[in-house]
């Protein structure tokens, strides 16, 4: 499917879902509910016929009717009428209590809109930071791979061997440093793979976990968002580096050393916001991989929003959209649930639309070139 068709399809699905959501929104407005309980079917049928057990006229009519039809056996019908009284009372109590609870927990449209805008702001910041983090970390993994570091277990054994052959303090320190580095990397991985709620609960007693800044930090580092997409980007770089044009460029003497100390690559270039490796083969690998990475941006957006929702819901952060979604689900305010879900859907769609538009523009530029 061409990108232009994709853009059209996005609009189509937005219209379709919006219509469905609006229909659901208007049909799910608060209404009284039938009381639940263990009442026989006869009672429920009478209730459905709007029989009012408190009405003396209806009571008398039912009494006469029962006597005429059943004679001496009319007592069992009169019991049904008594049960109907209880049913009516229960129904009123339940519906009133539920309704009170529902109405007390409802939010106005303006309140929800503010929460939604706040959610979008946090999402955009996290997205921007993740975009930078993914590229930086992906390139760092790639450079390390190209530097040809041995497996951790091999590196440790080599350092241990050096210590056994020559037990100088320098060798011992090198071994300890290496062991510490690998242990720290393992801990770092564990943090990156931790679901947000584990990190948040583990520091909840000492830090304010409800601040926006903390949410942004959690959104970036937790739920494996950063590491998953950094790894994806790393594999894109790796696959790109295996292509023929890269080998040709290297043969034609384009700089291809990946040493960060004393080489042509600099840490500054690696950490820069706008990455540029001019004069190095990495520049071409990076540019082509970045184009492919943009295509996975949509998937990342949905994943990231999932992460943010988890954070807000699991940490019970009040006055936030996802927490509100959970609360409205709890109080069965389904119209508001529909509204919030619709908002989230529109946000994902907007990201998808933007990504496809960006890719379309890029493709057109490449075609003209």
């Amino acid at each position: 499917m061409s990108r232009q068709n994709l853009l059209r399809e996005h609009l189509g699905s937005v219209v379709f879902v919006s219509l469905v959501m609006l229909f659901l929104f208007f049909t799910q407005r608060p209404a009284h509910r039938v009381a639940q309980g263990s009442f026989p079917d006869e009672v429920r049928i009478l209730a459905e016929m709007n029989a009012d057990a408190q009405d003396p006229f209806q009571n008398r009519l039912f009494d006469d009717f029962a006597h005429t039809l059943a004679g001496k056996d009319s007592s069992k019908f009169l019991r049904v009428w008594q049960q109907l009284k209880k049913f009516n009372r229960a129904q009123m109590q339940v519906s009133e209590r539920e309704l009170r609870q529902k109405m007390a927990n409802r939010r106005s449209f303006a309140e929800l809109l503010i929460m939604y805008l706040n959610f979008i702001l946090i999402y955009l910041i996290v997205m921007a930071v993740t975009y930078y983090g993914v590229q930086t970390l992906g390139i760092y993994f790639f450079v390390r791979k190209k530097q040809g570091h041995p497996l951790p277990v091999v590196a440790l054994l080599q350092a241990l061997r050096r210590v056994t052959e020559d037990s100088t303090w320098v060798n011992i320190r090198r071994l300890l440093r290496l062991a510490f580095q690998y242990f720290a990397a393992f801990l770092g991985y564990l943090i990156l793979f931790s679901p947000a709620y584990v990190i948040a609960y583990s520091i909840k007693s000492d830090f304010n976990t409800e601040s926006v800044l903390f949410m942004i930090l959690l959104g970036v580092i937790s739920n494996a968002v950063l590491i998953t997409y950094a790894n994806k980007f790393y594999h894109l770089l790796l696959n790109e580096s295996r292509k023929g044009y890269v080998r040709t460029a290297i043969v034609k003497n384009l700089e291809s050393s990946y040493r960060l100390r004393g080489g042509t690559l600099r840490w500054r270039q690696l950490l820069a916001l706008r990455k540029n490796f001019d004069g190095h083969v990495l520049q071409h690998i990076f540019m082509n991989a970045r184009y492919q990475y943009l295509a996975t941006f949509k998937e990342q957006a949905a994943f990231l929003i999932t992460g943010l929702i988890i954070i807000e819901m699991a940490l019970n952060i009040h006055e936030h959209l996802s927490y509100e979604l959970l609360q409205q689900l709890l109080y069965k305010n389904y119209d508001l649930v529909v509204l919030i879900v619709w908002g989230i859907f529109l946000l994902v769609k907007a990201t998808e639309f933007f990504t496809d538009w960006l890719l379309l523009r890029w493709e057109k530029r490449l075609e003209t070139q």
Binding site: L151, V153, L190, I203, N239, A314, I344
Partner: protein
């Protein structure tokens, strides 16, 4: 005196020689080990599988020694349920994904535009809803069924959970499979097979997906398994924390996520923060706060090990 000195001197020399011999033999052993370890590069995925199993076994043994029996039993049940759900999700997602990818490609070739558009539209719709929201709404449906008494038994509840999880993980599997089919469609062998009169369904299912994409399928299955665990734990945690008053009465099956949301586990996790500011409390985490720490570790270590496995496969087979 001189004799004694000589004796000491010679014994000192002997011990130095012995030390030297010991060092060189240790160095030889280490050299052999290094040589063997260097060959492990090709077996990284298997090693991580082993490390995962070993890590879980270690946690179980530790819990066997230091965690009380009822909590240990609960942990085992939660782990078993979570693994069961994730396995069912992995199987269903791969089967459904395969069927859907094949159907979409088939409709495209046969120019069944309407069916293809509807299928693609539905898939994009699922994709546009964040997985957690979709699964959460699915859970609302499960609780409704339970409330109505239409869902008896934990196995059927777990199967429903697996269904909703696989529904929202499905699009990424379909995308991967369709990408493989499109990639091979551009190669000569596809056209050659078509000219030979081999049916489209056979080329797609047998030659492209089975013979040439098995390793991709394996890799994706592991990734789906990891996604299922992550989503399931998150939703169960959220439900247990946010909707606890309603749902606890309905008795959803215990999983790692719901066990983590348990008040005892939460206290255990809070103790990590306490030990950051009170380092002498740190050892208590592994003896006093074992339930929460074990659950959290099992979730995180499983996600980490599965990531390493997929990564190793991707690197080895250039996926």
């Amino acid at each position: 005196m001189n004799g004694k000195k000589k004796e000491n001197h010679s014994s000192g020399r002997t011990s130095a020689v012995r030390r030297h011999e010991m060092r060189s033999s240790l160095s030889r052993i280490l050299r052999d080990l290094i040589r063997r370890a260097e060959k492990l590069e090709a077996y990284k995925a298997q090693i991580w599988l082993g490390l995962w199993a070993g890590g879980l076994l270690f946690v179980w043994l530790w819990d066997f020694l230091f965690l009380n029996a009822p909590e240990r039993a609960m942990l085992q049940i939660a782990f078993g349920n979570s693994m069961f759900i994730a396995s069912v999700v992995a199987i269903w997602t791969m089967v459904l994904g395969w069927l859907l990818a094949f159907a979409l490609e088939f409709w495209e070739v046969r120019e069944k535009t309407f069916l293809k558009t509807v299928g693609q539209f539905a898939l994009n719709l699922i994709r546009s809803l964040p997985q957690i929201v979709g699964v959460l709404l699915g859970y609302v449906w499960i609780t409704y069924l339970m409330d109505q008494g239409r869902l008896a038994g934990s196995v059927s509840a777990m199967l429903w959970m697996a269904f909703f999880l696989s529904l929202f993980i499905l699009p990424e599997v379909v995308d991967m499979l369709r990408e493989r089919i499109r990639h091979f469609r551009q190669s000569d062998f596809y056209n050659a097979m078509r000219v030979l009169g081999i049916a489209e369904w056979r080329i797609i299912n047998d030659d492209i997906l089975w013979k040439n994409s098995r390793i991709h399928l394996l890799n994706k299955t592991i990734a789906v398994f990891a996604s299922a665990i992550f989503l399931q734990c998150s939703v169960d945690f959220i439900i247990s924390v946010g909707l606890s008053t309603r749902v606890s009465a309905l008795n959803l099956p215990t999983t790692l996520g719901s066990l983590l949301a348990n008040i005892d586990s939460k206290q255990d996790i809070l103790a990590i923060g306490y030990s950051l500011t009170h380092p002498w409390y740190f050892p208590n985490l592994f003896f006093v706060h074992l339930q929460g720490i074990s659950v959290a570790f099992v979730i995180i270590f499983t996600l980490f090990a599965l990531f390493k496995m997929t990564n190793a496969l991707a690197e080895r087979f250039h996926l």
